[in-house]
């Protein structure tokens, strides 16, 4: 496997792994909470990047998969008594299936029309869950505290969820890397540059786009289950925040869309920045403004993001930064 000798893969895996191991080594619950948020953002940003970065389609509804997967997994745990790992697999499967069906339909649209449709899907999903009685309607669902006993109490359950998150994070990075370096990924990037030309060259665009969409949906669905398991409750407002989709886009653009390391770096940077702003008395109320200005500056002046910019500026780094 030549790919395993690529330094870009080890950099992309190594940095999140080191960050992820830090709370486990220190056994500190406060660190764990901070890193949980960062790793979760990394998974969401990397997943979105598989679709948005490689194919160039804007998805404003990526959080639908997070919300739906979370809801399905949560339903399995709270109403059916399934334990966490199968629930995560259930959530991931549900998201993947939804992406497949949705992708078949709405990926026929291109450009801005597709972006509008994803906003519609997000709103339709939230409105539907708000009314869907088995999932608790507008109130949502909560876990019975007794559920945690099978993991050895709530504290152990949280550490267990954290370790699963770390494994999933490394998993999504592997998927992202192998998609990018594969023939399939090359097809996706050809679609991004010119969809018609790609089709002429033999890329079956509808299939390729759909599979990229499905791949980008599975991990957020699984992460959704973990997140709501940790929180102990789930409600429509938390699960389908249009804003969370946008934050994920900011992370991807900040680090560099279409690169493997970029979204990870972007997620880390964005969450650190947000953490700093939230505790600062001056910026506490205007963190959204700062994020907006940051996004605008990136779009206008460094559209390739940090990693993309470094790759353009210092060609030698291309061997390390994938």
């Amino acid at each position: 496997m030549t790919a395993l000798r690529h330094p870009g893969l080890w950099l992309s895996l190594g940095v999140p792994a080191l960050i992820g191991l830090w709370p486990i080594v220190t056994q500190n619950a406060a660190n764990r909470e901070v890193v949980f948020t960062i790793l979760m953002s990394m998974v969401l940003a990397s997943s979105l990047n598989i679709f948005l970065g490689y194919t160039g389609y804007v998805n404003f509804g990526s959080i639908v998969f997070f919300g739906l997967g979370g809801y399905v997994g949560f339903y399995l745990m709270s109403a059916q008594g399934v334990s966490l790992v199968p629930a995560i697999l259930g959530g991931g499967t549900a998201s993947g299936l939804l992406a497949f069906v949705l992708g078949r339909a709405i990926l026929r649209l291109r450009g801005a029309y597709f972006a509008l449709a994803t906003i519609g899907v997000n709103e339709a999903a939230r409105a539907f869950i708000n009314n869907f009685v088995p999932f608790g309607g507008p109130i949502g669902m909560s876990l019975n505290f007794a559920v945690y006993t099978q993991y050895g109490g709530a504290t152990h359950a949280l550490w267990f969820a954290y370790r699963l998150l770390l494994i999933l994070t490394l998993g999504v990075i592997l998927v992202s890397f192998f998609v990018k370096t594969s023939r399939f990924g090359l097809g996706l990037q050809a679609i991004r540059e010119n969809e018609d030309a790609a089709e002429v060259m033999g890329v079956v665009a509808p299939d390729a786009k759909t599979w990229a969409y499905v791949l980008s949906a599975i991990f957020p669905g699984m992460i959704g289950v973990l997140f709501f398991f940790k929180n102990g409750n789930v409600e429509p407002g938390d699960a389908f925040r249009l804003h969370a989709s946008i934050e994920t886009i900011v992370m991807v653009m900040l680090g560099g869309a279409g690169t493997v390391f970029g979204p990870l770096l972007g997620a880390g940077m964005y969450q650190r920045l947000r953490g700093l702003l939230l505790v600062s008395p001056v910026f506490k109320n205007v963190q959204l403004v700062v994020a907006g200005i940051l996004l605008l500056l990136i779009i206008l002046f460094v559209p390739a993001g940090v990693v993309g910019w470094l790759r353009q500026r210092f060609p030698r780094l291309r061997r390390v930064l994938e």
Binding site: A105, G111, V286, I299
Partner: protein
């Protein structure tokens, strides 16, 4: 049953005029420069607050207040174009979508910090009158009439004046218009200004009908997308018709399904129409 339906249909259609006005700004910008303005909602919300402050601080009649709101909306849109959109106008859709969304975040962030999210309302009721089964609120009728006047003015502007003709020329073919000596950057800035002016004025009218806060614009932005595909995305006058259709649907649907299900149907409908006729029900076939 029929009487209640008729009453809610009348209400819905009157409201539809205002929905249409809100969507016209979006449709105009999309039609002329192929940009979907994701800062549309916050501008509607700023229009609402404009009407609110002019009414509460200066005691200005809310309908008269539409004039200063229109001027401010025009300026805001032109500034937005220069700062956020101009540099990426020829870039892929991703860039313009994200640039306008960044403006959305900035306005919402500043608005939330300065104005909080407490609901406000303009205490200005004109009373009502009864026609057959329907009770019509004068506020709604006045808003519908104001919309008709504004649409008429926009039509005259686009058809009869020189800048209006420039806008139509740039819509049809930007490069050819530039070759004819039309300053396309200035025309695009003016269009963006007009689009946000329409949004702000619609916000001012909505403020006389319902309570609102800085986040309220978002709902009307989503409705505007829906109306865009109901009418035709690039045509402001199609948007007015789309608004009337949406108003009628919102008036009729609650007679058949629980009110909380209405948004589910609306957005499923939205995605289906996008798939079937991406340029809108009344738009040209691809």
């Amino acid at each position: 049953m029929l009487d209640t339906l008729l009453a809610s249909l009348t209400d819905g259609i009157l409201l539809g005029f205002v929905y249409g006005l809100a969507a016209m700004g979006l449709a105009l910008i999309w039609g002329v420069m192929n940009v979907i303005n994701l800062a549309h909602g916050p501008i509607i919300a700023l229009g609402m607050f404009g009407a609110y402050f002019l009414f509460t601080s200066f005691g200005m009649n809310p309908y008269l207040a539409l004039l200063p709101i229109a001027v401010l909306g025009l300026l805001l849109g032109m500034i937005m174009y220069v700062l956020a959109v101009h540099r990426v106008i020829n870039a892929p859709h991703l860039s313009t979508l994200l640039a306008t969304f960044a403006v959305n975040m900035i306005i919402i962030g500043l608005g939330t910090a300065a104005l909080t999210t407490t609901p406000r309302n303009i205490d200005f009721s004109l009373g009502s009158f009864v026609v057959g089964p329907a009770t019509i609120l004068w506020n709604r009728l006045a808003a519908a009439l104001a919309t008709i006047v504004i649409v008429g003015l926009l039509y005259l502007f686009l058809q009869r004046t020189r800048p209006g003709k420039h806008i139509r020329a740039v819509t049809d073919n930007r490069s050819a218009a530039e070759l004819m000596g039309i300053p396309s950057s200035r025309v695009l800035a003016l269009t963006f200004g007009l689009g946000s002016m329409l949004a702000a004025v619609a916000g001012g009218l909505i403020a006389t009908l319902f309570p609102f806060n800085i986040l309220s614009g978002g709902g009307y932005e989503l409705k505007s997308f829906l109306i865009g595909v109901l009418g035709s995305l690039g045509n402001p006058f199609g948007a007015l018709l789309g608004g009337l259709i949406l108003g009628a649907i919102e008036g009729l649907l609650p007679g058949f399904v629980p009110t909380t299900w209405v948004p589910v149907f609306e957005f499923v409908f939205f995605v289906l129409i996008l798939l079937w006729r991406p340029n809108g029900l009344l738009g040209a076939r691809r």
